[in-house]
Symmetry: C2
Subunit: 137 residues, 2 copies
DNA sequence: TCTTGATATGTTATGTTATTACGCTTGCGG
DNA sequence: CCGCAAGCGTAATAACATAACATATCAAGA
């Protein structure tokens, strides 16, 4: 059965390493975090990581969290999610929950139609505390 | 009649200068953009700008655009907007449209309740082209 | 009045995130 | 073989943000 940590086989070496680092991480990683994890594999420069991340994000295998300047592996098993994706980011434990909501998407679409705004990309990030961390408080 | 460029009188000098810079700008400004605009007024260091921005954002007089690492003055006349605010950012002309949507807010609230997630802050940013720039294309 | 605390400020240095520029390599179709 | 596209390696630099420390201002409240 497919598993979210399966990695497409047509990735280049650097892309595979970067996606691997993201998949094995509990939470989001900055490009420099990733670089540090991969020095042992021969990566030396930020650009090597950024280039890999660009491709991964382009393909939907990873996502950039704008409010964190960091990246996560896509949580969707088949990585085919289209349209708006929302992220709930816990300030306590760092975990990220990825979800889609058609109602919100429609609502935004309505706003855009009314304004004549052509949407290319939407970022939606909720910061707060997850249930576990609220409990612990 | 009140006007969105009116500035509360209890701002400190630096806060007033920074908000003024944002109010007089067509589009979002980075902290360093602001600094450059205010060198003539005696500002010298990034921290002076960041400190003022922190206060302005805290009071809702300015907003941070995470996907741009930049700031805009609040477009609301009385600067009392609570809750979720969305921004539509034009890639063509840089203009930013600020709006609120209760339906989206409710929908997120529902999701959060269901998950036990305690929301502290939400960022929602739409990138694309405004009507004018779509026309021009 | 004198002290004390809270808030704002100024300055230097440093840390973190992201890109530009350039050249080499690899694989693939003409 | 040639020309092109995509990927890679490296160095340098740009852009964004904070730490650390010193000083200034002002409003309680003893
Ligand atoms: Zn995803
Ligand atoms: Zn948590
Ligand atoms: Zn606003
Ligand atoms: Zn535009």
């Amino acid at each position: 059965m497919a598993h979210s940590h399966d990695v497409p086989s047509d990735l280049t070496r650097n892309q595979g390493l970067v996606l691997g680092a993201l998949n094995h991480s509990e939470g989001p990683l900055s490009a420099y975090d990733i670089l540090d994890k991969l020095r042992g594999d021969g990566l030396r420069a930020p650009l090597q990581v950024y280039r890999a991340l660009d491709k991964l994000v382009e393909r939907g295998l990873a996502h950039r969290l704008e409010s964190l300047n960091a990246f996560v592996a896509c949580a969707d098993e088949h990585c085919h999610r289209k349209g708006l994706i929302a992220f709930a980011i816990c300030e306590g434990c760092g975990k990220v929950d990825e979800f889609a909501d058609a109602v919100i998407e429609d609502r935004l679409g309505d706003w855009a139609s009314a304004k004549g705004f052509k949407v290319e990309r939407t970022t939606m990030e909720i910061r707060g505390k997850c249930a576990v961390c609220v409990e612990a408080a």
